[in-house]
Symmetry: C2
Subunit: 373 residues, 2 copies
């Protein structure tokens, strides 16, 4: 059903909507690999299940699982969650899944980017990533959505759009030679313009300190409305995060978006540093070629890694005094949405958080009509 398109979203009048625009649902992948998730991924599975339950209060959730996990996942997940089979190498659908675009008439299509596990054979986090690279295509096939399939490596977590012509990204990730070495900054900006249908690319140099994704923007700085962003922050000048966030704050203050607006920047204070404990490291299998999880390593904990669902914000909590102020800030920034806090530590131990393990599908009018036919 799904056609592969050789044009671009921009040429066809499609754009990536902001995450706060209405969704038809949310896609997730089920964590399983024991060389990234401790204790055979059981604690992570419970954490993912809690995220799915929270989101399903706002919109339908589909969790994709491997054949061997189907019955197990079906038992562990909320009955309101749909479970389908889909093979993957790990569980970061924000990054290996499709990016959806919509037309003014409400047709939904997908962009099936290439994926190389955050850096390929040199810097990537595991090998192989062949099944992850098929996830975008498969989701679009399941949904019968036509797709663009550019020869371009991009993770969904490395971009953030306002839906009105502006995208935020970090140089640390998008200009990293481990992604698209044949393209320079201008070439990469052109790809973002053509596929996301944006006019302005706002660059920040780096993302969160020690973020193994090479500084994904979705853990660091995101739009919460047109002209407004949240930025992960710390008041501790001795923390390496301080210089990164302070520099970003200064740059953001002088930026204009595609509509000519200056940006209002909300500082979202990070939790205390989160370090892997010896107990947490002990039960992760060690496998050559997969990034090890070692006791004492600092994780890229951030409250910015929340998911915007219909009527809900689902944000990670860290059992930290900063949890409540973060929840309050997001509640103030999204007045139409209840903010649910889900424990994020087990997800963070695998290398990301709630936004990384989710992928929204926008609600399209024409698609609804096609389904009804």
């Amino acid at each position: 059903m799904a056609k592969i398109l050789s044009t671009t979203p921009r040429a066809d009048g499609f754009r990536m909507p902001a995450e706060w625009e209405p969704h038809s649902g949310c896609w997730m992948l089920w964590p399983e690999r024991s060389d990234n998730w401790r204790r055979g991924a059981k604690p992570a599975q419970h954490a993912f299940a809690a995220v799915a339950s929270a989101i399903t209060e706002g919109e339908p959730v589909t969790v994709c699982v491997s054949p061997g996990q189907y019955v197990i996942a079906r038992e562990m997940l909320d009955p309101a969650v749909r479970v389908v089979e889909m093979t993957s190498n790990d569980s970061w659908i924000r990054d290996c899944g499709p990016t959806f675009v919509v037309s003014d008439e409400g047709v939904v299509r997908g962009i099936d980017w290439k994926f190389n596990a955050w850096g390929g054979l040199g810097d990537g986090l595991y090998f192989p990533w062949d099944q992850d690279d098929l996830v975008g295509e498969k989701v679009l096939e399941y949904e019968r959505d036509d797709r663009y399939a550019p020869d371009f490596i991009l993770e969904g977590g490395s971009i953030d759009v306002d839906g009105e012509g502006t995208v935020l990204a970090t140089e640390e990730c998008l200009l990293n030679p481990n992604r698209n070495p044949n393209l320079d900054r201008a070439g990469i900006e052109q790809m973002l313009r053509d596929y996301l249908n944006v006019d302005s690319v706002l660059w920040l140099p780096k993302g969160v300190h020690l973020d193994e994704t090479d500084g994904h923007i979705d853990n660091f700085c995101r739009f919460v409305a047109p002209g407004e962003v949240v930025l992960t922050w710390t008041d501790d000048t001795a923390d390496p995060q301080y210089a990164i966030s302070a520099d970003a704050f200064e740059r953001l203050a002088s930026m204009r978006d595609a509509k000519g607006r200056s940006l209002k920047v909300h500082k979202l204070h990070q939790p205390r540093p989160v370090l892997i404990t010896a107990e947490e490291a002990a039960d992760v299998d060690h496998v050559p070629g997969t990034l090890p999880r070692q006791a004492g390593d600092r994780l890229a904990a951030s409250y910015v890694n929340f998911y915007i669902a219909n009527e809900r914000i689902v944000m990670p909590g860290y059992d930290d005094p900063r949890d409540l102020p973060a929840q309050q800030m997001l509640a103030d920034l999204f007045p139409g949405r209840r903010v649910t806090v889900v424990p994020g530590r087990e997800i963070l131990l695998g290398g990301g958080n709630i936004h990384c393990i989710t992928q929204q599908e926008p609600l399209g009018k024409i698609k609804r009509a096609r389904r009804a036919a």
Copy 2:
């Protein structure tokens, strides 16, 4: 999304529609196992792909494939066919898949029967069948359809309904102690009444000669309209099929359906006997516990094993002089539908034919509305 219901379709006002009622689509499974399909299932895969292509002219087709076959199947199948991952033990979705029921208001639900590979540990055709038994549940989960899950073994190919209160079945299959040994004839009739929502069960003693399904009705005698059936036939009195078909013809002549109508019986002459050649048997892997495919074995070739799609009939051809008259008879019986003949020998070598590898999903009004919401 999909709820498990503890009531019955009859109690809830749902019924199994006739196959000629409008479909939202057709489900298939991809053949793969080399101990049933010769040459690593390649010839069968081409045959299944041809069936999918023919049906897709009339309605959307979804083919479910194992993870290892996804990319291969996607390449081999018509671009108009949707491919999704689903694990199974073999590829007979008529028998291991769900039976759909509808309400007068157009709500669609499914019946997730139990499945034991046509006879269980004693008489079954292979072991294990655990993944096949999950196919019904999975299809309904993919479609977000609520489901009934009776503790009752039934294959979809062992029943045929007219959509107006009558079901056809064979005693050879449904009363076989290898299916539901704890239920007698009255108990089994009650299950059919409760779940298919029929009033009359019309019994024939046996199905097609040597049919390894224990005489499935869908290879032998099927409704083509209320009050009209086709019956596989031979004029060769020396053929063991003759006595079976002649006996059925006589019984059918004296039957009344649920509406009190007598039945018009159309004799659909079978092709010449189809025997497995030495070449065909040579490239099937021999595995303990799986029914062997041996040179010289006669197969249960029948033209009755056709699929009724929207605007199309897809029937098996056997490179036989009877192909054309069979096609003509079906064209006369289904005046609103074009009859497409697809070579059936490779499917027959695996133990069934086009009806056995397909499962229609009825078009529901409420479901359409729900999808549009």
